[in-house]
Every structure is written in C-alpha cells, then in structure tokens.
C-alpha cells in the first residue's frame, strides 16, 4: 500500500497541475496580475492633504497596505471558486473512482485535495503580493521582506476557505456552498472592520465628546463577534508586520487561533462526511 504522505503529496500535485492547466485559471491570474501591476500608477501622484504635500513614502506604504488587503480578500473569493467544483469535477471526469480504486484511503484523497487547492491559492496570492512587494520596494528603494511574510500568514485564511467550501459542497449545491463561505467572509470583514473603526483614536475621541460610555459587559453579540471566523483579523494581524500597526500580543494571535481551530473542526467534519459519500 502506498505510504500516506507520498500519496497525499501526489494527489495534491495532480490537483495543482489540473488547476493551473485550466485556461480560465490562467486568464484569471493574468488579469489579476495586470490589475495589481497597474497599482504602481498610484505611487507617482502629487498628493496634498490640508494644503500640505504628503511624503511619497507615506503614500506608497498606505497604498501597498490597502492593496495587500484587497489581494487577500480577492484571492479568498478566487479560492472559494476553485474549491467549490473540486469534488464534482473529480466525480464527473472519473478521477475520484480512479484514485479510490487504488490502495488509497479516502482521508488521503481528501487531504491531497485540500493541500493541492490550498497550495494553488497560496501561490496565486503570494505572486500577486510579490508584484506589490517588488513595485513598492523599487519605489521606496527599500526592501520590505516582511510584506512577503505577511502574505504567508494570510494563507491561513485560504486554508479556512478551502476546507469550508469543500465541506459545504458535499452538503449542498456548489454555488450555494460558495455563497455561504462568501457570506461568512463578508460578515467577518464588516464586523471586524466596524470593530477596528470603533477602536480608532478618532472614534474614541468622538465617544468621549458625546459622553457615551463603552459597554464592557458580555453580551450575546460579543460572543458571536469573538467566535465568528476572524478572517479580517488575520489580515490585520499580518499587516502589523508591515510596521504601521503595532503588534498587539495575544490580541494579534487570537485571529490565528480562531481560524486554525475552525480549520481543524471543519477538516474533521469534511473527512467524516466524505467517508460516508457514495463514490462513482
């Protein structure tokens, strides 16, 4: 019987190759790379705030940070699109019955699929972030390797998306699975975004002026807020590496713990559900 790790690695490699051979994938990647490359146009403007020129370095850093978040969120959507048809495509083109008629356990097949799609998405995001890194480094004449490290940290989000969509695609139509995970992502971004804004200095000052006291008691929505997948939280924690946001100790680690726990639970559910699937 083939050993566990090589079988998973082979299935992952086949999945990766199948994805990158798709014309739609190549076109999507080329369009995204072009759009990201065009961001460099923002670096050369003459920006003024309150009648004062803004330093070009500040602009470059701010734009690259916003681009970092947009790429992170965009690749999550692309990852969900790639993941939603994985099982259906394998079922339709005979890959599933071909693989599982060999001495390969279902959990190895599922693990190979997860790793394969995750690595494709990770490379997709890493290359796009790499383009921003290069453009930013050339504009600032200063290399920022932490930008790439931050990109790797964001790959935890992609793992969550892959596992969640694969699991849901076994339980409901592919497009509904995609929309569900998209909804989870949107809620996470909106809620974390509102939270980030409400904790900003300006918002705090406004609250002090209006005399509103911050609520500290535990309410149900706070429980939901902390338990909800912290997808934007991971991106914010990752950008703390870029220097503009301070690293907040356990507060910065919590999103990673939260999303990794979700990945573990959803993976367990995925392995269990796929174990009961009828193949062929």
């Amino acid at each position: 019987m083939p050993k566990t790790f090589p079988s998973v690695a082979r299935i992952a490699r086949h999945t990766l190759l199948d994805e990158v051979r798709q014309k739609s994938f190549i076109v999507m990647f080329a369009v995204c790379a072009l759009c990201v490359f065009l961001v460099r146009g923002c670096y050369h403007g003459d920006y003024m705030v309150n009648g004062q020129h803004v330093d070009a370095g500040v602009i470059v850093r701010a734009v690259s940070k916003v681009t970092f978040h947009i790429i992170g969120a965009g690749v999550m959507v692309i990852t969900a699109l790639l993941s939603m048809r994985i099982f259906r495509r394998d079922r339709n083109d005979g890959t599933q019955s071909c693989v599982l008629s060999k001495p390969i356990a279902r959990r190895q097949y599922v693990a190979g699929k997860i790793v394969g799609v995750w690595v494709v998405s990770l490379l997709f995001m890493f290359v796009l972030h790499g383009i921003v890194f290069l453009v930013t480094s050339l504009s600032l004449r200063d290399f920022m390797p932490e930008y790439l490290a931050a990109s790797l940290l964001c790959s935890v989000n992609l793992l969550f998306v892959v596992v969640a969509v694969l699991l849901l695609s076994l339980l409901m139509p592919d497009i509904v699975a995609f929309l569900c995970v998209l909804g989870i992502g949107v809620v996470s971004f909106v809620v974390d975004g509102i939270s980030a804004v409400s904790h900003s200095q300006m918002a705090q000052a406004m609250m002090r002026q209006s005399g509103a006291a911050p609520h500290s008691d535990l309410t149900w929505w706070k429980v939901v807020y902390y338990a909800w997948p912290k997808l934007l939280g991971i991106q914010q924690s990752a950008t703390s590496l870029l220097g503009s946001d301070p690293f907040q100790g356990l507060g910065s680690l919590y999103p990673f713990i939260n999303v990794l726990l979700y990945c573990l639970v959803l993976s367990a559910a995925l392995f269990r559900r796929f174990g009961k699937e009828d193949i062929g």
């Binding site: 082979r10 086949h14 599982l100 060999k102 390969i104 009828d278």
Partner: protein
C-alpha cells in the same frame, strides 16, 4: 479471492442487493449478469468500498473491502469511464502508475507496454478530449492493467466499442486469463461472456438467481441468453 457474505444494500426503501452470497476463486473468470437495475454495479461499488453494505460483509484476498490494502492488486474499469480532458492517454496512464508508488522509469516502461497491448500506439499523446468513446474505454482498460493487478474488476468493459474492439478486448482478456489473472466481469454482452468466462452469477432485483459454472448453467441446445431470459422473466 472474492467473498460476499449475506450482503444487503438498501437505499431508503429500495433494496438494491438482497442477501447475496458467493465466492470467486483465484484465476477464475467470473461474470455477474443481470438486467438494468439488478444491482450489478452496486455489488462492484461495494467491492471497491465506493459504497458500504447495509448488512453483510465483503472481502478480497481475505481482507475486508473497507481496508484500502485490499485494493493493492486490483485493476478497475468503471462503467462510464472518463479521462480528464486536460490529460493525454499517456499522462493518464502515468498518473495511475504514480498513484501505485511506481518509479518514473518503471511507470514509463509499463505504460509503453500497455499502450501497445490496448492498440493505441500513435494516439497516446493526443489530448483525451479528441478521443472517441471506444478509445477512452481502451485507455480505461489500460489504466486497469497498470501495476500488474491480480484481480480485474470490469464494469461493462466493451461499452462503446465497435465489433472489432469487442473482439480485441475479449482476446486481450483471454490472454490475461491464461496468465492466471482473476477477472470479475459485469456485462450485458452474453455471447462474449459465454466465450470468455468460466462461471457466472445471474441476479435480478438484487437477489441472486443462480451462481455456477457456465457449462452447468447452459443446458444442451440452449444459449446463455436463453437461460438468462428464462430466469429473469421467471
């Protein structure tokens, strides 16, 4: 080699396979026959652990079918075989070999031999999207032969083949049978089964009607088709 022990499979209120028991010994060429919806493909799926029985047990070489190790020396051709359109037949065969832990050189050697065996020389590097149904079926049979399996499980192996292809497939299976390979065949082509197989089982509505040597099932003056129609129509 294969043992089914009081196997039952239900899908809700529908009983697809109803308390079926039989064995297939090593080196035997066995045909599982039955009309559409009789439960043949369900039995094949249970042998490969693609679906689990509601009751009873199945084993291959004494290993329960729920253990992936039992599939170590099985070649399988599904009923509606497909090849991913982005692959060529050659790449598909190599991929099957890789999944069996074969080295690249061994895989290339064996795939070269298999391509000749299935008569697809010269077309093996063309994309699968350009293949006819018969060509895909041949590559499917080739994929089943990767890794020199001891047991071949073939679900309608001649589906989509022209008469010459059907004859060539039978001749190939005959040569594999002579080499001692166990063949488990699921087919509607009774005349081909009669020429090729040693034993057969006929099932209808999930129940086993008969399992015996073909020479014992087919009486003087009858054909397998006559016996099949008589048994199935009651």
């Amino acid at each position: 080699m294969i043992e089914l022990n009081t196997v039952t499979k239900r899908y809700g209120s529908l009983t697809a396979v109803d308390i079926v028991s039989f064995t297939v010994t090593a080196g035997e060429c066995f045909a599982l026959l039955g009309p559409n919806g009789a439960g043949k493909t369900t039995i094949v799926k249970m042998l490969l652990d693609f679906t689990r029985p509601t009751a009873g047990s199945l084993s291959i070489r004494g290993i329960p079918t729920t253990d992936p190790a039992c599939r170590a020396s099985i070649g399988y051709l599904p009923e509606n075989h497909h090849i991913p359109s982005s692959l060529s037949g050659w790449r598909y065969l190599l991929r099957c070999a890789e999944l069996l832990d074969m080295s690249r050189s061994d895989a290339a050697d064996q795939c070269g031999r298999i391509v000749k065996l299935i008569g697809m020389q010269g077309r093996e590097h063309a994309p699968a999207g350009t293949y006819s149904k018969g060509m895909i079926q041949r590559f499917g049979l080739g994929a089943a032969l990767v890794g020199d399996p001891k047991l071949l499980i073939l679900d309608e192996p001649t589906s989509g083949l022209d008469p010459i292809g059907i004859r060539e497939t039978r001749l190939l299976l005959e040569s594999l049978k002579e080499q001692g390979m166990t063949i488990f065949l699921n087919s509607h082509l009774l005349s081909e089964v009669e020429k090729l197989c040693d034993t057969a089982a006929i099932i209808n509505r999930g129940a086993l009607l008969v399992k015996d040597a073909i020479s014992a099932i087919v009486r003087d003056g009858d054909t397998l088709e006559d016996v099949f129609v008589r048994l199935v129509k009651g």
